[in-house]
């Protein structure tokens, strides 16, 4: 199953939730939709699963040599952002009902329940009403409901929300297993550190638009707004000495012997190293790449300000 999203826009009464978003999800990939609350991730997911439809642009889903305008019912698992099952029914009744609606036989449902309840340490609580479970355990039930029919594609909207670190690791393990089994996964989240470890590709969104997309390296390149190199000299140097080197735009002093050097994009690091060695002996020379979270904050922070300014205007 593959997804092609092309220039999709979706507006509600007063808000444009998604603005000309384009990206793809290839078979067997884990793709993460990243962005803060209100970035448009859930709106996009709802269009993908067929709950709403794009105003403009198109969504194409290819599955079993056929093309669909959204994910075909029954061929995917969906963990919605708005979690919810029947609070006054037991855990088993809830999952059995979902399984039945997915067309699973009683034997298949029982087999899956045995496996997942054991895995999530919920066997003892199978006959308790959902409202008696903690938020984290309810989250696990939702995940079971999403995965119990072993779909070829899984859409997870904020799978880590409400989970403690231990349970976040459990979900990461499950996602790794899905990846190993060749299941295509599209997940939305704002916990970038968790997603960085798992996703093949990422789509960063803000204010409804795609800000950057690709592998972690691609995104770092797209979002990197300055080229920073950290240099440890054997002896102390002054910023003025560094600034005199061709291609250096700025030098931030960390310690008397350590500086962060911001250079122009068209200056190769090797050229820079050669020039710096003329100033003094160097013990360490390394590119400084901020993590995805910091890069995203830099990029989104600027865009948010720009948007707000344009709104004021």
């Amino acid at each position: 199953m593959e997804i092609f999203i092309d220039q999709v826009t979706k507006a509600y009464a007063t808000v444009t939730a998604v603005k000309q978003a384009s990206f793809e999800v290839r078979r067997g990939e884990i793709v993460a939709l990243l962005g803060p609350n209100g970035a448009g991730k859930s709106s996009l997911v709802r269009m993908l699963v067929g709950l709403t439809f794009p105003d403009t642009g198109s969504i194409k889903v290819t599955y079993n040599n056929q093309t669909y305008p959204h994910l075909p019912a029954g061929a995917f698992g969906y963990l919605p952002e708005d979690r919810g099952l029947y609070q006054d029914r037991t855990l088993k009744q809830n999952l059995t009902y979902i399984g039945q609606l997915r067309g699973m036989s009683k034997a298949e449902i029982d087999e899956q329940l045995d496996y997942w309840l054991e895995r999530f340490s919920l066997v003892e609580r199978a006959d308790e009403n959902l409202k008696q479970l903690s938020k984290g355990n309810q989250q696990k039930i939702q995940l079971i409901a999403t995965l119990m029919h072993q779909p070829p594609m899984v859409i997870l909207d904020e799978p880590f929300s409400g989970l403690d670190p231990v349970n976040q690791e459990i979900v990461l393990d499950v996602l790794s297993e899905l990846k190993n089994r060749g299941v295509t996964v599209l997940l939305s989240a704002h916990q970038m550190a968790l997603v960085e470890r798992l996703a093949d590709r990422m789509v960063l969104m803000n204010l409804g638009a795609v800000v950057a997309q690709g592998t972690l390296t691609n995104i770092q390149e797209q979002l990197l707004q300055e080229h920073r190199i950290r240099v440890d000299f054997a002896e102390s140097v002054t910023p003025e000495q560094i600034k005199s080197v061709p291609g250096v735009e700025r030098a931030d002093v960390i310690t008397p012997t350590t500086l962060d050097i911001i250079h122009s994009p068209d200056t190769a690091p090797s050229q820079l190293l050669a020039a710096l060695l003329k100033i003094g002996a160097i013990q360490n020379f390394g590119r400084q790449v901020p993590d995805l979270h910091s890069l995203y904050l830099q990029a989104v922070g600027k865009q948010t300000v720009a948007e707000e300014t344009s709104h004021v205007e």
Partner: protein
């Protein structure tokens, strides 16, 4: 993959079982038994606790003494006093006496502290007593006396056709027929009100519990709506059947204990067919309307829309007028009009002869309306869930409801 019918039935079964709880069923039957027993024995209970009323009876100036043959009135004790005691008796009102009755020939005055129901018994007994005294005072022969005493009236015979012959219907049967229409009305109330409560829970609570998105990726809004409507309708029918059977059993027990034999309602085949068609489709219609309305409510605690959900209950109230005048043009209209026929046609069938073409026309219109309304309900549901936290406007509701 499940087909459309399988999915609808899965949802219907789930919705039915979701609201069917054995403990509650037994509790409600227990409450019904208790309520019925209290209702049956209410008269005896009240009589047991009713006090004895002491009425001082005395002649006025026009009479020497109180006549000896005062009527017997339940729980009333006559205390005969001479006319001279009037002032003292009046002062003892509310204390020693509950009333002071002054007799002046055929004029009787009852002095009391407050108006109360028990005084009606004295009023009616004394009116008969005075009438009898008046008749006796004109020296009639025994025949004349009997003729004057016999109340005037006409005999009303209800005719019905049995095996091609016209016969006079007996009184118990006619009382039974009235019970049939009254029973239908009572069961309708139970069915419609059950649907009202359950549909609110089935849809608005579900929206609040955020179950909606998960399930809507498994089936279409129409499948979900149909399943809910059928499930809740089955629950309404269950409530009606439980109550109906219970009342029949109770009436039979009372009838057998009182020596009148087994209680049998004079129900005809047409009654049963009408009940199945009109009440069955009628409940689906009402539950479809309720579902549509409920789907537009985002939060029942902060919405004025639940009041609108009472609208589908009005036809049941209108059926009262049909019971008293089943042959009127208005009753005929109500029994054919599809939004009211489910409640009024069964009453008309139980109360009078309904032309077959009216029955067929009403049934066809009702079924067509059910089809339309259930489609509208699914559209409204779809509208409600895609607005995410907002309630649709009346204009949006109207445009969605009328689109097929």
């Amino acid at each position: 993959m499940l087909n459309n019918t399988d999915k609808v039935w899965r949802v219907a079964k789930f919705e039915f079982l979701r609201f069917f709880k054995w403990k509650q069923e037994l509790l409600s039957i227990g409450l019904m038994v208790g309520g019925m027993l209290v209702a049956i024995s209410w008269g005896s209970i009240m009589a047991f606790f009713q006090p004895e009323y002491r009425i001082a009876v005395m002649p006025t100036q026009g009479m020497a003494q109180v006549p000896a043959n005062l009527p017997t009135v339940t729980r009333v004790e006559w205390i005969r006093l001479p006319g001279s005691e009037r002032e003292r008796a009046q002062q003892a009102l509310g204390d020693r006496y509950d009333g002071v009755m002054l007799i002046d020939g055929h004029d009787i005055t009852l002095l009391v502290e407050r108006r109360r129901d028990w005084q009606q018994n004295i009023d009616s007994a004394m009116a008969d007593w005075v009438r009898e005294r008046r008749i006796s005072s004109v020296n009639l022969t025994p025949e004349q006396h009997a003729a004057v005493s016999d109340p005037a009236g006409i005999q009303i015979n209800v005719l019905r056709t049995v095996s091609g012959e016209t016969v006079v219907s007996d009184e118990p049967r006619e009382r039974g027929r009235s019970l049939v229409s009254g029973g239908i009305l009572m069961l309708l109330f139970i069915g419609v009100f059950s649907g009202f409560g359950l549909m609110m829970t089935a849809i608005t609570a579900e929206k609040q519990q955020r179950v909606t998105e998960q399930l809507l990726t498994l089936m279409t809004p129409q499948q979900w709506m149909d399943g809910k409507i059928i499930g809740v309708t089955l629950h309404c029918i269950k409530s009606m059947a439980t109550t109906g059977i219970f009342v029949m059993v109770l009436l039979s027990v009372i009838s057998i204990v009182s020596g009148r034999g087994m209680f049998v309602l004079p129900v005809t085949f047409v009654d049963v067919l009408t009940l199945i068609v009109f009440v069955g489709f009628g409940l689906i219609l009402v539950n479809s309307m309720l579902a549509g309305f409920a789907a537009t409510i985002d939060d029942p605690n902060h919405s004025s829309r639940p009041l609108v959900m009472f609208i589908p209950l009005f036809p049941v109230g209108m059926s009262f007028s049909v019971m008293s005048t089943p042959e009127s043009a208005f009753s005929t209209f109500l029994s054919i009009f599809p939004l009211t026929s489910y409640a009024t046609m069964p009453i008309r069938v139980a109360e009078t002869s309904v032309p077959w073409w009216q029955w067929i026309l009403a049934a066809v219109l009702l079924i067509a309306t059910v089809y339309y309304v259930r489609r509208s309900a699914a559209n409204l549901f779809n509208l409600g869930i895609t607005m995410y936290g907002k309630e649709p406007t009346w204009k949006q509701i109207w445009q969605t409801a009328k689109a097929l």
